[in-house]
């Protein structure tokens, strides 16, 4: 393929206009000894037909499962057809960040609406235009809390997604913060006693997820109280965003920041990305939060319009003094989330309930099998942890039938031997579950 429209004649004319005899002259600033003639070791160019057939072959080397019982930070939800039809509009997906507001009202308004929906959904007062993913959103909250408080200790629940904890640790290491993990109690929730013990006046932020990585709903209100008592801020995440259809959001329970992964809202699994980081906050943090913000304003004729606003927080104005270095975010994923939430509307509640039904059915059916037991008694949304005699074998058996089983927690929690983290969304039918039980019987 060749996407340059230049004909030989065009090139000749343009060279003449510039006053050069050959293209190579344009590269004369590059010291000759470094100049190459050709990139080595790249396969030959392909025609479009060959490209598509090569890519189909590659995609074909992946094996799509019949269905999957793993969530663990990435959730298989039904994406209503409208979402793709909107994100597929060329005016949206071939645009850059809306620096020029007058010809970018489309994405600006859509993001403003997204911000509003996310704020309402998370029980906060505002949300930014998106971050890279849930993990980096949480890490950015850490940096912000530390900067605002001048403190440098970070408390994170061990029940937070293992990869999120890793990202938080990386960002914290880079900034010289100390990260302290708080274990989970037997219930599966954070161990509040330990939390309180570890909380001191050096703590900038407490980080939890609810539902947490085990699917367990945390008592966010109590955690918030504990944190605030010591002058620490609470950044609360969540795993599956659809849980917000029924769960009281952390923002309403005292969290200062709600951060999490928005993939569940209309974004495909995509082998882990692109996803979108949700970053929502109380109003008082508005002038400090990272990321882009769209604000409403008026034009010269008093007509409502939207612009990128409060840009003095951002790197292109403040450079090294900026709140964060983020520039491009995940706008199209945020657009998808906005369309998804507008499509579901109040049905998000019914969807969340359906997730609970499926999950309870799967859980109860598995518990009826011999050798299976519940690990955590605390309430769950659409994920739960069970112990069995041989977790690896269970997954192998399921795999044979084209089913992705549960997530083996032992990898990240050596103490949780032979436990599996299962997830059942609306994509799992009763028939699917009954088949699983049949296989594992």
């Amino acid at each position: 393929m060749d996407y340059c429209p230049h004909t030989p004649d065009d090139i000749k004319q343009m060279q003449a206009a510039i006053g050069i005899a050959g293209i190579e002259e344009l590269f004369s600033d590059i010291p000759g000894k470094f100049r190459i003639k050709q990139i080595p070791d790249i396969p030959q160019a392909l025609s479009e037909l060959e490209t598509m057939s090569m890519m189909s072959d590659l995609a074909g080397k992946n094996k799509l499962p019949q269905f999957t019982l793993t969530g663990a930070g990435s959730y298989h939800h039904f994406v209503p057809a409208v979402v793709g039809h909107i994100t597929g509009r060329a005016e949206f997906y071939t645009a850059y960040t809306p620096y020029q507001a007058e010809i970018s009202q489309g994405i600006l308004q859509a993001i403003y609406e997204y911000q509003t929906m996310i704020a309402h959904l998370t029980g906060t007062e505002l949300a930014n235009a998106s971050m890279y993913d849930g993990a980096s959103a949480m890490a950015e909250a850490v940096v912000l809390c530390a900067k605002m408080s001048g403190r440098s200790k970070i408390i994170i629940a061990r029940s937070v997604h293992p990869e999120y904890r890793q990202v938080v640790k990386t960002y914290s290491w880079a900034n010289g913060y100390k990260v302290v993990e708080v274990p989970y109690a037997a219930s599966g929730q954070i161990d509040l006693d330990v939390l309180q013990k570890k909380l001191d006046d050096q703590v900038a932020a407490v980080l939890v997820q609810s539902p947490n990585f085990f699917g367990v709903v945390e008592d966010v209100a109590s955690i918030a109280d504990s944190a605030h008592n010591k002058g620490a801020l609470l950044a609360a995440g969540f795993t599956d965003g659809t849980s917000l259809g029924i769960l009281n959001p952390a923002g309403s329970l005292g969290a200062d920041f709600v951060v999490g992964e928005g993939q569940s809202f209309g974004n495909p699994l995509n082998y882990g990305g692109p996803y979108l980081g949700i970053f929502a906050a109380k109003e008082k943090f508005m002038r400090r939060i990272p990321g882009r913000l769209v604000g409403a304003t008026v034009d010269k004729n008093g007509k409502r319009g939207f612009v990128l606003t409060l840009q003095t927080r951002e790197q292109h104005i403040r450079r090294e003094k900026a709140t964060s270095n983020i520039c491009s975010n995940e706008a199209l994923c945020a657009l998808a989330a906005g369309v998804y939430l507008a499509a579901l509307g109040k049905n998000l509640k019914r969807l969340a309930e359906l997730n609970v039904y499926k999950t309870q059915y799967l859980k109860n059916k598995l518990l009826e099998l011999s050798g299976w037991e519940e690990v955590f008694p605390a309430p769950v949304y659409n994920e739960f942890v069970l112990r069995c005699s041989d977790a690896r074998k269970v997954n192998k058996k399921l795999k044979k039938e084209g089913i992705i089983g549960g997530y083996e927690l032992q990898k990240d929690y050596p103490e949780l031997k032979n436990t599996l983290l299962f997830c059942a969304t609306e994509m799992i039918s009763k028939e699917n579950i009954d088949k699983v039980i049949e296989i594992l019987k």
Binding site: P5, F27, L64, T94, I103, Q109, V217, D299, C327
Partner: protein, 479 residues
């Protein structure tokens, strides 16, 4: 246009939810009343109204598919449709990140090969695809540098950054705990070598250099610059956002760069989505490979798998494996262009930029008269001085001519900067008509400055009150 909330009406919805095929349970009993929310304040709209709302919104947005988008530094080249179709294959979109590696061999192979191709193109030893955007890549790169010195037990506090650099460079360094020192540009738009010499101490971890820089100029003294930095034990970081200027012409690794981040959504044609998703791979030289984020794909006996067994890694900067589906598009692009195609892209990009530069230089101030690379930077200072017409005005007037404006007021070292990056996918005809418009605006600025200052008039809204937006922020609709 109305907000989605303003067309909401209780009882409507677009997406329905299937009836449950398993027994319903009592949610209050199952989860506990105190954990449940009382209200759920989301818009309620029928499918027809949702589709009309967002379709009409889209029509108030400008994309590359509508016309010329010479946004400097952003490389708004055309996004080939075959890339979109390839990335939409269910085999790519449907995989859970935790699926067993045997079921994901296609993805793993793609990632592995993509890294190899990037190594070949940029002359680096290894790449990671984990960072989600350019700035994320910068942060990752700077973290790698930090780790390198930590491992060497050297405490270096400083990162040097040229005054012309993109804001993300200092911001990324700061987010990694470094102190930023500004390096002056010389009169030619290159690194002030003397200044560099004076700043480059053993307290300096790295020089972050964009080459070609944000003036669109290639650093002629790059060899000297690299030597100065390396001599003091520092590392040379390359902001690869401008890589479209040199594919197949020169390799940063050969020039002495130790770390480089790319913007796939610029150089490799993945669409920018109105602000993302992007992808910001980071390449490193041999010395730094151990510090790359985990997990990394390893190949053994023709099978690919993920490995975390890299004890010196900086860790993770993102969950899972980065913006995989964006990488699919860039991979498709590289495979369809091949080595020849990538080189031609660069050649045409540079040809286009120089062509525009030549055509416009009689009408606008050109602060640096050299041959430029993939973009050229003008200054609107003449128009300000002579007619009181600012670069913003020129930009807004271009909208009325049907163009997306160039980048303006960046780089900061050029007053009233107008940064034009045509990219290689634009034809001579497009450039000619664009230049005509620019020339007409220069003329109108003289003859009727008010006409320029009142632009745009063809848009759904006229100029917006940004001051009001910042003074009384309304970032969330209160109903």
């Amino acid at each position: 246009m109305e907000l989605i909330f303003e067309i909401s009406k209780s009882g409507r919805s677009t997406a329905d939810v299937p009836a449950s095929d398993v027994p319903a349970v009592n949610i209050e009993n199952t989860i506990g009343g105190k954990y449940l929310r009382n209200e759920l304040d989301l818009p309620e709209v029928a499918e027809i109204d949702l589709i009309r709302h967002y379709t009409n919104l889209s029509r108030r947005n400008f994309g590359v598919d509508l016309g010329f988008y010479p946004l400097g530094s952003c490389t708004m080249k055309y996004n080939p449709k075959v890339n979109e179709n390839a990335a939409a294959l269910p085999g790519f979109t449907g995989l859970h990140p935790y699926i067993d590696e045997r079921s994901a061999q296609g993805n793993l192979q793609l990632i592995y090969e993509m890294q190899k191709y990037l190594c070949a193109i940029f002359g680096m030893a290894e790449f990671t695809l984990q960072p989600a955007a350019g700035a994320h890549g910068e942060l990752t790169g700077v973290m790698i540098i930090k780790k390198y010195f930590e491992k060497k037990k050297q405490k270096r506090r400083i990162v040097l950054i040229p005054d012309a650099a993109h804001g993300t460079n200092p911001a990324s360094s700061a987010l990694c705990g470094f102190e930023v020192m500004e390096l002056r540009s010389n009169s030619e738009g290159g690194v002030d070598i003397e200044h560099l010499r004076s700043l480059m101490t053993e307290d300096v971890a790295a020089l972050m250099l964009t080459n070609p820089n944000t003036l669109g100029l290639f650093e002629r003294n790059i060899e000297k610059v690299a030597a100065i930095v390396h001599k003091k034990g520092g590392l040379l970081y390359g902001d690869g956002a401008n890589a479209n200027a040199f594919l197949g012409k020169v390799r940063p690794g050969d020039l002495g760069f130790d770390v480089i981040q790319l913007n796939l959504h610029k150089t490799f044609s993945t669409p920018h989505g109105g602000g993302g998703p992007g992808s910001g791979p980071v390449g490193v030289g041999k010395e730094l490979v151990d510090f790359l984020p985990v997990p990394r794909v390893v190949k053994k006996d023709d099978k690919y798998k993920w490995s975390e067994k890299f004890p010196d890694t900086i860790g993770r900067v993102r969950s899972f494996y980065g913006n995989f589906n964006v990488v699919v598009k860039a991979y498709t692009y590289i495979r369809s262009l091949g080595a020849e195609g990538l080189k031609r892209a660069t050649e045409m990009a540079v040809l286009n930029a120089n062509y525009v530069k030549e055509k416009l230089k009689p009408y606008y101030n050109l602060p640096y008269g050299r041959i430029c690379m993939h973009e050229c930077v003008f200054s609107g200072s003449r128009q300000v001085a002579e007619n009181g017409v600012h670069t913003t005005d020129i930009a807004k007037k271009l909208i009325d001519y049907g163009y997306h404006p160039p980048t303006i007021y960046f780089p900061l070292i050029v007053p009233e900067a107008i940064m034009i990056e045509p990219t290689e996918t634009e034809s001579k005809e497009t450039l000619d008509t664009f230049c005509k418009a620019m020339i007409a605006i220069a003329k109108e600025a003289k003859e009727n400055p008010e006409g320029v200052k009142s632009a745009p008039v063809t848009t759904p809204v006229t100029r917006l009150d940004e001051v009001l937006a910042a003074r009384k922020p309304d970032v969330c609709c209160k109903r």
